[in-house]
């Protein structure tokens, strides 16, 4: 039995499951089963401070003291909520500015989970096929590019981050216009591959999307050049790129629901 299941999983691995296919159904089902727990988890994170203050109020003190503490806790809770709302407002304003700047249809989504094993770099967002999302759509935020959608269920989707070692984005150095492919590396960060040795690349240069891969709109920030290894043989530089996005603090993202203009026109024709 185990042998048959091993063969089955190897088969799944080799065929590469696509969204909507029969083989992709169990994956979508698993995502939907875990989603409520992830949402609960997110809500718990938001409400932890309130529960803590409520708990403090229950400890035996006099009625007046308790009333005052309750009031104080409420005010503190309100203060925390207000601060949180202000931060959320700022983040949403940034996303709105970004939406206007890129001029394409986008939908917002909350980040509800991270990679379950720590070996890959993926995120789970709380919007899926019901929200009009499909595989290979670009995911961005105010700081830059986050990644692309790789698996969709009804109400959730999996995002492959740009720093995952299976991700690759066509890009160029904004200052020198040198072209290359930005890809994640196994340990951490990203590298820009296939940059010719004749190019004038410098540390600190912004690296942006070229729009030629048909997924990411042109000109979105991927990161900044952090190191250049000029020595050694070969035709190309080894350029290390620090991601612009702090993935650990990501709470809301935008999903670009239409392809970059050039590819949209090609699709229509």
């Amino acid at each position: 039995m185990s042998g048959v299941l091993l063969l089955l999983s190897a088969h799944l691995l080799s065929i590469g499951v696509r969204d909507g296919s029969l083989a992709g159904k169990p994956e979508a089902l698993a995502t939907e089963m875990v989603r409520p727990f992830l949402l609960l988890n997110t809500h718990l994170a938001d409400g932890t401070s309130g529960i803590y203050h409520d708990y403090l109020d229950l400890v035996g003190v006099s009625r007046e003291n308790r009333r005052l503490k309750e009031r104080l806790a409420r005010i503190q809770g309100d203060e925390t909520r207000l601060a949180e709302l202000e931060l959320e407002n700022r983040r949403l304003a940034e996303l709105l500015e970004l939406k206007d700047a890129i001029g394409l249809n986008v939908v917002g989504a909350d980040v509800i989970g991270s990679d379950a094993t720590g070996l890959a770099r993926t995120l789970i967002i709380g919007r899926g096929a019901a929200g009009g999302l499909k595989s290979d759509m670009a995911v961005i935020c105010g700081e830059g590019v986050v990644g692309k959608l790789v698996a969709i269920s009804t109400n959730a989707a999996k995002v492959l981050r740009i720093d995952d070692h299976n991700a690759a984005v066509d890009a160029f150095d904004q200052r020198s216009r040198a072209r290359g492919i930005v890809a994640g590396v196994v340990d951490s960060g990203m590298v820009m591959k296939y940059v010719e040795r004749t190019e004038d690349i410098q540390v600190g240069d912004p690296v942006v999307t070229s729009g030629l891969d048909g997924i990411f709109p042109r000109g979105l920030l991927l990161g900044h050049v952090s190191r250049i290894k000029r020595g050694g043989p070969g035709l190309f530089f080894n350029v290390e790129v620090a991601p612009a996005v702090n993935f650990g603090r990501l709470e809301q993202v935008l999903v670009v629901t239409e392809p970059p203009p050039r590819f949209a026109e090609a699709g229509k024709s």
Binding site: S9, L13, E27, S114, N166
Partner: protein, 169 residues
Amino acid sequence: MRLTALFILAAVVALALQSGTLHWLPLGPLVPDLILILAVDLGLKHHSAGAAVLAFAMGLATDALSGSRVGLNAFMVTLVFLLCYEFSRHLWVASYGVASIVVFFAVVIKDVGVMAVTGSFNGLGGADPDMIRMILTQAVLTALLALMVFPVLDSAKRLLRLPRRAERE
């Protein structure tokens, strides 16, 4: 049936913890592999076709929340189940300590397998020391956590009047 229900519930909770709560801890990218603890428990204590299917399903569910290659975790978790099953046929694992050592090696096998497959797909050769350190730390962390998870699982089995382990073959 009760075993299936218990493990489905445990797997859903484990995945929610792995994907959400455990990322709050200051462990960097390290995530203890709770699913693998469940697979080791199945491999060591439940020798049936249903247990193998459960291990495969838990791996497939992990694929839904990790990485971009469907089938990779399913393959590795089923492999770990099979190895634990074979191990338990030759050696009677009675203590939680020994079972947690099995978990340590299971995490190492699974993580090295995952890295080897994804690495070879990308044409990358060799593993770097940071990655090996991360895998070993994750294995230690998961093994320590297993010392707490196994008693909880056994308590749940007792509550459901399930056998805590298969009869010795």
